[in-house]
Symmetry: C2
Subunit: 251 residues, 2 copies
């Protein structure tokens, strides 16, 4: 069993995210999907529709992660520049992908035909493969370790679905959540001590204020399920000793 | 009137965002608030609870933006390392802020007293000022052009409120939205031509599929309201000429 940790980075591309107009949903969606593939989302950058910004982010992140995902900017309009920016980052030309052209021709046969603008969605960096898109016509793009996905979350969901099980990863991250009606500041030392006693485990503390009371959820994460269970047991015992009842599954 | 564009960057700090457990809301919230201050959110990075990652992001982004915001990692627990990481990025020591200590002492007087863990929330990089937090005890931190905010969105909202009108900015970005029941690929050339004819304006195209039909919203953005109006008028006219009715305000 390999202990190697596989990581991915994500570049979210789009002025609409940076302007606050659109609430991003792809970070959480892709993070959750990656966890199941045994790959950890290590970092995310959000950049606008500017070639230079995309190229910089893509080159910085692909150099230090096993996989790089991008979302956004692969439609037919003038502000869709992701394909050209990725080709520039990789130093390869852009070309029409014959299979993508065939898919779009079929898709638009009953929708007004394949115009020049629509043909833009068949452009890929040279050497790229397609990622199936069951939701709308235009496919996603895979080139080496880079995965170019749609900005619209439900289209990205379909593309992730098409990729499920095809990426090499390590052991999936396992997590368990324990809730407690306590101010996290009351048990900060306890949390820290339990984490230190369990090498390879990370405990996250997420406070909240609900029903007029403060509480917190403690999320215990590791790649080894037995280790997570042992750490949760130790945490529950330590909380009980301090006079607090832990609620399995969180609050 | 200055034409200078003021920019801000945001570093979102937290394993819970990268694991997919928590849906970030601070990017959209801070972006929207910055627009009103006449400051543009230029880039965002999401990093985990790791000092090295925070230091790298903070130093890269503060060098090329007027302002830098961070969210997350300022609570009392072991995974709250933002203050130390920012002090390291700036090369200054961490110290207790007397006013923050006083605030926390008052806040916790009826809540079990100021423990060592709670005192952690009064630690600031040397030379920092506080940002008022009306929601919970622990204040935010301002040091130079860096603003250190909470991860919990409603607490961040309160801190932004306290900062409103205190940051120098330029002309606020004005935007108007036009909706149209059309596939964006049908009007891609038209959009591009209208944008090219209006220097200083950016047109974003955001397609959707609703009520069984495809449509798109076109968002026209510029710092000059008259320019936005002129561009919207030209866009509406061009759409009408192509046989499409524009819906003011978007769909």
């Amino acid at each position: 069993m390999a202990d190697r940790i596989w990581t991915a980075a994500l570049v979210v591309i789009g002025d609409e995210i940076l302007s606050g107009r659109t609430q991003d949903r792809n970070v959480a969606q892709i993070a959750t999907w990656l966890n199941v593939q045994g790959i950890r989302l290590a970092e995310v950058r959000v950049v606008g529709d500017r070639t230079e910004a995309i190229v910089e982010a893509v080159n910085a992140l692909r150099a230090r992660n096993d996989y790089l995902f991008t979302t956004g900017g692969i439609g037919p309009t003038h502000d869709d520049i992701t394909v050209d920016a990725i080709a520039e980052a990789l130093g390869v030309p852009v070309e029409y992908h014959p299979q993508a052209l065939a898919i779009l021709e079929r898709h638009y046969a009953t929708r007004g035909g394949l115009t020049e603008a629509r043909k833009r969605m068949a452009r890929v960096p040279q050497g790229a493969d397609l990622i199936e898109n069951r939701m709308s016509g235009a496919p996603g793009i895979r080139i080496g370790s880079i995965f170019v996905m749609a900005g619209v979350p439900h289209i990205t969901a379909g593309m992730l679905d098409a990729l499920t099980g095809t990426l090499e990863g390590g052991a999936p991250l396992v997590s368990r959540t324990i809730g407690c009606w306590v101010a996290e500041s009351e048990v900060a030392d306890l949390l820290s001590a339990v984490e230190r006693a369990h090498d390879g485990v990370a405990i996250g503390s997420y406070p909240f204020f609900r029903e007029g009371k403060v509480g917190a959820n403690f999320v215990v994460r590791a790649t080894d399920a037995a280790l997570v269970d042992a750490c949760v047991a130790a945490l529950v015992a330590a909380l009980a000793e301090a006079g607090y009842a832990a609620i399995d599954g969180g609050i």
